[in-house]
């Protein structure tokens, strides 16, 4: 699905990512964990085409998307749920959703309606509030909207940047359950998280990013047992 080799990127003279290689297979939840400033968001932004890579390759379903404009990438089936939700506060919930459906608009109203229906079924609270302005939603609801909006593009890969940020533990649990459900329904998820324990709890595999490099990777259950990971990210010292 997604294959990254030796990716380097950054902002101007500041090199953030160094020689990143990783992959995501269809139907997996893969998580990237790491401390603040490790380069997690930069990695997702580089895949999404928002930050320019300096070298390496990012192959998404046979296409090297480093050569693609950011705006065309969702159309290929790779969408991002940005950090901090970034919903359009002054637009209604449904308008936000429809914007997310932009890449599949050509397939006609029926397809869009079907997708809307699917999202409302996944997040019943959004149906109740579909005419409400997005800015009036709670943090958890906004996160659901951000995910629903991304799913409107009928993506084959959903990238999520810190979906748990600023949410109450109960809401985080709910969001993570939804991510698991997405995977169980055949979706593929690349999840960036600071909440390593929760992320590893639901992921199939994980990569640990430290100062722009992947220092450990493997099955999520192995990473939970890895003492380096425990010390640095799980706040546990045995």
């Amino acid at each position: 699905m997604l294959k990254i080799r030796n990716l380097a990127s950054g902002y101007g003279k500041i090199k953030v990512l160094k020689n990143i290689s990783m992959h995501v297979d269809p139907g997996e939840i893969v998580t990237i964990i790491g401390a603040n400033g490790a380069g997690k968001t930069t990695l997702l932004s580089t895949i999404a085409g928002l930050v320019k890579a300096t070298s390496g390759e990012v192959i998404f379903k046979e296409t090297d998307i480093l050569r693609c404009k950011a705006a065309t990438i969702p159309g290929l089936g790779c969408v991002m749920v940005p950090e901090g939700r970034q919903v359009f506060a002054t637009m209604s919930v449904e308008e936000n959703m429809l914007l997310g459906g932009h890449p599949v608009q050509k397939q006609g109203r029926a397809v869009i309606n079907e997708l809307l229906e699917y999202q409302y079924e996944l997040f019943p609270i959004l149906r109740d509030r579909k005419n409400q302005l997005a800015g009036t939603l709670s943090g958890g609801e906004q996160q659901m909207l951000a995910i629903g909006r991304a799913l409107m593009a009928k993506p084959s890969l959903v990238m999520m940047d810190e979906p748990s940020t600023g949410l109450a533990p109960l809401i985080v649990k709910e969001i993570f359950q939804i991510i698991v459900r997405l995977r169980d329904e055949g979706n593929t998820v690349l999840l960036v998280e600071q909440n390593a324990k929760a992320a590893l709890g639901i992921a199939d595999r994980g990569y640990v990013l430290e100062t722009g490099k992947i220092i450990v990777q493997g099955p999520a259950e192995d990473l939970l047992e890895n003492k380096d990971v425990q010390r640095a990210y799980l706040g546990r010292e045995k």
């Binding site: 080799r5 290689s21 992947i214 493997g218 890895n226």
Partner: protein, 432 residues
């Protein structure tokens, strides 16, 4: 039958992606956590952080047995000792012992890799596995033990030795699979015969043998005497222990677990890769070991990659059974001779028993090799001419196989010492 089908039957490009990812993170870890490698990388001005392809492995330094000895006991560990849950020591086939360690994850991976080998050989959770490898610091016993438990089989941790008891238990416990060195398997077969036990009456079906080089002829001998299907498996404590590679039931080479080990076959003199399919020294880099990662460990074992795909469907490269060791290669009269070559010849001659010794001496600056081989008792009671004929046949076949002349001496059955672990068949008396 596969243990971890998604890994054992991976597509080549997916495997190589995984290998690269794992190699890169292994390099970061050894470069930061293991002073030995950090120093080496610095000395070579090696920018391991921009290591971009599997081919780049040729820029990496080698690790040899002496490095392990110099770092005795814990110098090469990549994690603090408190994270190590198991310690083993090399079996010390040659020279001073070395120490290796395992984290919880390492033990888990190790168990899975051994389970792959067992599963590939045809074993299932229904089998009763008698592990006649020595238990203790040697990785053979515990390695197979954990793998067999992981498989879900019933394990008999009998350890090596007390051959009569081995056979008693084999009969009473209805052992279906025997795990030991090939020399011990032969030893057991002989005692079985002496005790008058008919192998057809045993439940034994499989034999998984390893820890020393053996020949195809020896396999046939064991198969026939014990009525089993013997498969070869390979490993060494320096990189993990058993489970690095193993034969499937096709018996046509050992499948290497390439998702955990990056293997190269190099010319031991030039240290360049040999041509595809040629014999060279096996060099292994671990890709997932946490406690004791190894970069380009020179195994001293000689083998070659096998061509083509295996009908079993596993996609990992296969290596030929070990052809010998760079350090047990004898140089007799300037010619390279491996004990396994001599073994193959002896096993194919009627009248000989599969027990032999090779004695190398030097007299007046001349090398002289003598092969002592056990023969059927009847030969000694019969005419001398028959003995002479046999000696002649052996000598001719050996000299055509080896390219040098060797002396042959027949000895009576059971005069040569038997082995319970690794056999020591070469006695080199030369003072060089």
């Amino acid at each position: 039958m596969y243990w971890q089908e998604d890994k054992e039957c991976m597509k080549r490009d997916e495997l190589e992606q995984l290998q690269l990812e794992r190699l890169q993170s292994t390099l970061y870890r050894v470069g930061t956590h293991v002073p030995f490698y950090r120093k080496k990388f610095n000395e070579m001005a090696l920018d391991y952080e921009s290591f971009a392809s599997l081919e780049d492995i040729q820029q990496l330094p080698f690790t040899v047995k002496q490095d392990l000895r110099d770092s005795y006991p814990y110098g090469l560990f990549a994690v603090p000792l408190r994270e190590v849950v198991r310690l083993h020591s090399s079996s010390g086939t040659t020279g001073q012992a070395t120490v290796v360690g395992y984290t919880k994850n390492d033990i888990k991976n190790w168990s899975d890799l051994v389970a792959r080998v067992l599963c590939g050989a045809g074993l299932t959770a229904d089998d009763v596995i008698q592990i006649a490898f020595g238990y203790g610091l040697f990785t053979g016993g515990f390695g197979l033990h954990y793998g067999a438990e992981r498989l879900g089989a019933s394990v008999i941790p009998i350890s090596a030795g007390n051959t009569k008891r081995q056979i008693q238990i084999m009969q009473d416990f209805k052992t279906t699979a025997l795990v030991c060195t090939p020399s011990y398997a032969l030893n057991i077969a002989d005692v079985l015969f002496d005790m008058g036990v008919n192998p057809a009456g045993l439940s034994l079906k499989f034999g998984l043998f390893g820890a020393e080089p053996w020949s195809e002829a020896m396999r046939q001998e064991i198969n026939q005497k014990l009525g089993i299907r013997a498969t070869d498996n390979y490993g060494l404590s320096e990189v993990m222990g058993p489970g690095v590679a193993g034969e499937c039931s096709e018996c046509n080479g050992l499948h290497i677990s390439e998702d955990h080990f990056l293997v190269e076959i190099l010319d031991p003199d030039t240290l360049e890769p040999v041509k595809e399919g040629e014999v060279g020294e096996l060099v292994i880099t671990t890709l997932t070991k946490e406690a004791f990662p190894m970069i380009r460990y020179r195994t001293r074992d000689l083998t070659r990659f096998m061509p083509g795909d295996c009908p079993c469907g596993r996609t990992g490269k296969r290596m030929h059974r070990i052809l010998g060791r760079t350090d047990d290669m004898l140089i007799i009269k300037g010619v390279n001779v491996f004990p396994t070559q001599i073994e193959s010849v002896l096993f194919n001659i009627d009248g000989t028993k599969p027990h032999y010794r090779i004695i190398v001496e030097r007299e007046n600056h001349q090398d002289r090799a003598t092969v002592m081989v056990e023969v059927q008792e009847s030969l000694f009671s019969d005419r001398m001419s028959q003995q002479r004929e046999l000696i002649d046949t052996i000598r001719k076949q050996l000299s055509s196989e080896l390219g040098i002349g060797v002396a042959v001496k027949l000895v009576e059955e059971k005069t040569l010492e038997r082995f319970e672990g690794k056999g020591k068949r070469v006695i080199d008396k030369r003072k060089l």
